[in-house]
Amino acid sequence: MSDRISRREFLKLLGAGSAATAVLTGCGPASRYVVRKPYVSMPEYSYNGESTYFATTCRECPAGCGLVVRTMQGRAIKVEGNKNNPVNLGKTCARGQATLQGLYNPDRVQHPVKQGRGVTLSDQRMTWDSAVNVVADALRSTSASKVAFLLGLAPDHLFDLVSDLAKALGARPPIRFGALSMFEARASLRKATSQVFGREAMLYFDLAGAEVVFSFGANFLETWLSPVAYTRGFAEMRRGKAGRRGYLVQFEPRMSQTAATADEWIPIAPGTEGLVALALGRLIAEARGERVPAAYRDVDVEALAQMADVPVKKLEHLAQLFASVERSLAIPGGAALAQSNGVSAGEAILALNILADNLGKEGGVFFAPQAPLGAHHAPASPSEMLEFIQAMRNGEIEVLFVHGVNPLFELPQGLGFAEALQQVPLVISFASFPDETALQSDYIFPDHTGLESWGYQRVLTGTGKKVLSGMQPVVVPYYDTRSTVDVFLAAVKQVGGRVAEALPFADEVEYLQSRLLDLVKAEGGFFQAPEINTFFAQFQQYGGWWTREDALDAPSGSKVLDKPLKVDKPAYYGEGEFVLYPFVSPVLGEAGANKPWLQETPDPTTTVMWGTWVEMNPRTAEELGIQDDDVVQVTSIFGTIEAPVYRYPAIRPDVIAIPFGQGHVAYGRYAQGRGANPADLLGVTFNPAGDLTFAALKVRVEKTGKRRQLSRLEGRLGVYGFEK
């Protein structure tokens, strides 16, 4: 194929007919459709006792780490990191390691079913032909404005295809959402970034090159944005890449795993992160003996320190530290932004980087590189989800396609997704597992799991390079599942007309290759190929495409420090004596609960396995007469959950914390009926960026008189002596 062909010409050619198809499939369909079968009929390339390794992309979170999966006789044996992929450089997290237990999970949706909105998985098996008919009928017979697509957080090829499809139909563009983006308060981060640095882009924090790092609730060693990449950065910082061993200070109401690893944990009152950043700003400028910038001239350090419940002396000491080194860095995390004052708090925290003069410098803040293959739009904020839910409730949506997200579990109950779903006449889920939303759908047309799929995924942050991580099946699909892209392509063919012309692809691989055409000619890639088939072969072999050089932009020095920065006092809402601090479980993430080995992996700080707990300061617990394992009822104005108490020595006395990740009422035997879901407590109050103010909710705690022993790795002797 000529190397001068553009994507548009390619599409034209394809539309022209069989000649183009011959060009595309001419060079070795065999290499495209290698079948990886279990050992009962061993694939030809497989030798007894020898492993075959395939590069692909982890789908356990949207970070886009590269994997190399060891297979033997057609079965996936072990997940290892892809040493070439710039995001993770050969490393993986616990969730990535356990991805095989998703592939071989005993509770997968094994074939298409007519689900009919039940509480258990329906046994009404369908053929894929009839499934495609259902999708085609839905697309054909519904007016385009009433068709909606709800996708997960991964910025992948499915999102591109559905975007193209929605555009061709004239339907609303697909919405992406996930609990992680909600808990990371990404909309607020974006807004603060645009106000401070003048561009709505993802940021990249060069932890590795920093010497002193202030993290305001950013749990970057757990689930935040790209945990494996940031863990590597953290390790390099600690090793002293900048010359001396780096120092991490974590400001947050509850000691997270990241704070436990940090050198100092400063237990500030919830929602005062921005206020602390303001006070620190003034103290840092003073410590340097410079003129205090206008931004901090009206700052009353004493008053702010009192509100944040941290001694002024402590802040002075930290400011001295921050000011005394060349490379200091400040990072805003999710809970700091999920406040009524979240956006301005984000600005105040980011402004510390201007003060540190680290913009675009080693150990500083950068704009993350624009991912390959054009822009993608940001995930929906919770308030945008609420608008969407209202549209559902008002009957503006007649067909809803759901893929890669489980809103019945991930969204706060207060948003009313469950009721709104009842108003949608046709809900089609593409879930691989019988999760809550899938069971409440009319049909489940299961997609392959990540290790059985083709695809690509953009990498949003975590590396300085532009990365498109590649996916390929490492094993033949275990069950009678089908790629959602293929289902849509087949349905579109049936619908015909304009829509079919817009998506004239025989299958998923052809679609992928058409998208990758742009990269064949792109400059700066770490491999070059003259045409698409060679390119695609290398794309598969290396596990993606990325640039050889970093493509980081320096944020421009804005004038933020020239006018007073203002952060309001945090506005808690609800009633009760405690502020709730929900956090994403570091081990389970938002969707790991169906993997038994993740369930049995101890939480890093509490060592609890297989359950949900409520973290409470031991002294508060004593005042309330609560022991470990006493079940308490936590009540907000939106809902109630019950869970046993874990007396957590490193949490503020006025705060309780509950991990998110458990509390499923479906999702297979390992997840179902286990623990409680703190999202059931969350409500509908948003900050100006549209993020949920989930870290400002007050709750009541009452003893139930019941006890339930938490499974935990640590002994029950030791910290508090013998249990009474």
Partner: protein
Amino acid sequence: MSEYKVPEYSANWSEVEQGKWGIVVDQDLCTGCQACVVACAMENNISFVGEEDAGYGRSMHWIRIERFWEGEYPDITMTPFQPVMCQQCGHAPCEPVCPVFATVHSDAEQLNVQVYNRCIGTRYCANNCPYQVRTFNWRDWERPEPLDNQLNPDVTVRRRGVIEKCTFCVQRIRRAEEVAESEGREVYDGEIEPACAQACPADAIVFGRIDDPESRVSRMARDGRGVKLLEDLGTLPRVVYLKGGAGHGYSG
């Protein structure tokens, strides 16, 4: 009475020492993320036991991450995370107590090996291990289909009544040695990575030859922060921990 003569027999299959393996764990880098714990389970076909048995302390982790609290709120700190696996002691307290020689010292790899088909489940070794790294199969743990598809064919599965523990991923050591031998060379430093070290996102776990002074582990172990767990028991552990929490500006 004819004189009964015991036939003379001498075994001539003594193993040759091929390398002394060790691990260095930098606690200043460990973030407690549990990637090593899950990677170990996936590599070594370790069973999960379920909520109730896990609560009784019967979970089968070959590696666990310890942490302790110091002080009281608000002046509370957590000790640096400490991954603990079998320390492959040179003088292992588990070995002499086994009545059936199921836990023995391998001369070739200089490891403590557990011979599952000898083990009769007395659990004396677990009782005698000061590091509490031996786990016992209290049941035939359930592994419903098709989860068994991921079983690693290089590692045997264990059933009820036997003790198991970390092997330093001996299957990977053997494979690398065989590959090196077939290529007529020595195993190079860094060629072998146990599952825990391979996964570790912070690169806090490093594996290698401790009898080679120039290997990465040996160089790391010479860092002034190096300690061995319960060294005063004279167990000669093969795992070196580099103390964490060094403070700002520390340089080794």
